[in-house]
Amino acid sequence: MIDSFYLATRYLLFHRVRSVTVVACLVLVAALPIGLERILAESERQLMARADTTPLLLGSKGSSLDLVMSAVYFGGQTPDPISLAEIERIEEADLAYAIPIHMGFSARGAPIVGTSVDYLDYRELTVAHGRSFTILGESVLGAGVAKRLGLSPGDSLTSSPESFFDLAGAYPLKTKVVGVLEPSGGPDDLAVFVDLKTAWVMQGIGHGHQDLTRVQDPTLVIDRDEKKVVGSAKVVEYQEITDSNRDSFHFHGEPASFPVSAALVVPEDERAGTLLLGRFVDGSLGGQLIRPRAIVGDLMTTIFRIKEVLDLAVAIVGTAAILALVLVFSLSFRLREKELRTNFEIGSSLGTTARLLAAELMLLAAASAVCVAGVLFVLDRFSATIVRGLFVT
């Protein structure tokens, strides 16, 4: 048998292009479905891990999936806002605490997340360089953002205008980068974090300008009496919050009416979470309160149903590929008829010839198996990084 393997090896090496092609086909047919399965499983694991660490999510009525994708994964469509009052109602129930999330703005391609420092504590995000934000106008960068933009503490980052066509909309705000977070391997690496109040300034709900009660330029004031000063449209709002103008920043309106995109709700325990969910079902509280795990689970179920169709397609293609290979081998044997007859005439028995051909097939199969094992080993080792690279960075 060893002689057969020797001859088979020499034959396959002589026809190396053909041999590599056959091995590649076999590897693709075998590794593709298994590899897809592994990548999907890792994607599910990462998605569910993120969803699992978000017990409840509060948002406006509407698409639950949009709410989750925006507030948990910082992607997709920004949902309709809720008011801060709705978050306060959750807190007054004394069953949970809520972490506000404000979305809708970006800075050089990175989403800006307006929130409180509770978010960094809850997600266990630690600062690698600098410090956390402490005051209006400061920002902290995810590790991926800092690396991509080449920014570090002390630099500045300006928010992008909401729309180039909305001349009366929110103006860009220049923030001071005070910290960069440690890599977390998730969506937080790609986000810019600011205090919720800074996000409101970006939205135009808060702003800073000269003290209208003290300006001398008459064109800045429409009307003035001892109780009220009415400013004109000429009053310029500051586009950067500095130590010298921070005191001038203020908000118009009741804070309870100010908008947030969503809130992470962290109940005291499972019972408290159930009670809170019940209050939304019975309508005593507005908006919707959802379990991200359930929404992502439904999404994965849908994805896996689609995957079943893809698996069937892959199976059909794989079967076709194998049938094609069988056809290739049978045609190859026919083409080698003269060679096989020569073997017989020089004394090789039918059994020996059969062993030779079997050895070729076994070597091809063994080589394919080794390659498939190698591919799967690499996938297993680096699947987390691959998924993050495909979907996160």
């Binding site: 409180s116 429409i222 009415v230 920043f249």
Partner: protein, 302 residues
Amino acid sequence: MQRVIGSLRLVALIAVAGNALMPTPSVAEMSVYTVNYPLAYFAERIGGDAVTVHFPAPPGIDPAFWMPDPEVIGAYQAADLILLNGAGYAKWIGQASLPRRKLVDTSRSFRDAYLPGEKTPVHQHGPTGDHTHGQIAFTTWLDPKQAIEQARSIEAALVKQDAEHAASFARGADALVADLEELDRDLEAVFAAIEGESLLASHPVYSYLARRYGLDLRSLTWEPDADPGESGWQALDALLAARPARWMLWEARPLDSTTAKLDARGVGVVVFEVGVNRPDAGDFLSMMRDDLEALNRALGLR
């Protein structure tokens, strides 16, 4: 061999003795940060040894208008609890990033009863645009009834954070409430003696005191370390002409020249400290007792 055994015994003895001498690790104390001294005092009285209270505003600076640096705000962020006064107290709160779940608004239970503060002009953007609102009076603790509600709010927050010491917190709160109720009775008695009389105040910080005891209190905006100037004295004369007053409440002793001019107008100075900063000697309650004593002396009741 005996030497070896003896050495081993000595080593074992030293190890046991060393272990016994090691201090037993204590239970971690709760770290509480406050925005003014009255809240710090309440937290100290209620929390006792189970709580470490921090009030980092420098002495001599009005905490309502103090702006802490990032390191101090970082210390607030790391606290277990942050006690806020509410009513817009401490301007820096509106600009700082503090963890929501650690914030305790101690006057939330009576927020519907806030009074308007110092009248300052508001501004508006355009004839129909956004506008700011006037200020709210924030010296809520000067009404002992409100101070009691704030103390109970602090007690509830401490118990929620550390249920093991609930009984101790309750004892501390009850004792504090008893002292505040006694202060309330004594203040009520003093102000009852001058019922119907008008009072003046150097600054509009006594609104809640006035409401609690039904005082006819009119406020100016004078600083103790500066002469109010001609316009200030004219404003005072106008007030006195409309309704005479025999006493003026001050947060701190005014200049001797101011005292003399007030005396010439028949207005006596009564120093009634508001208590926003930790005193050099004594505590919040002793400060309030001193204020009560000053009232008694001024009104000729003692």
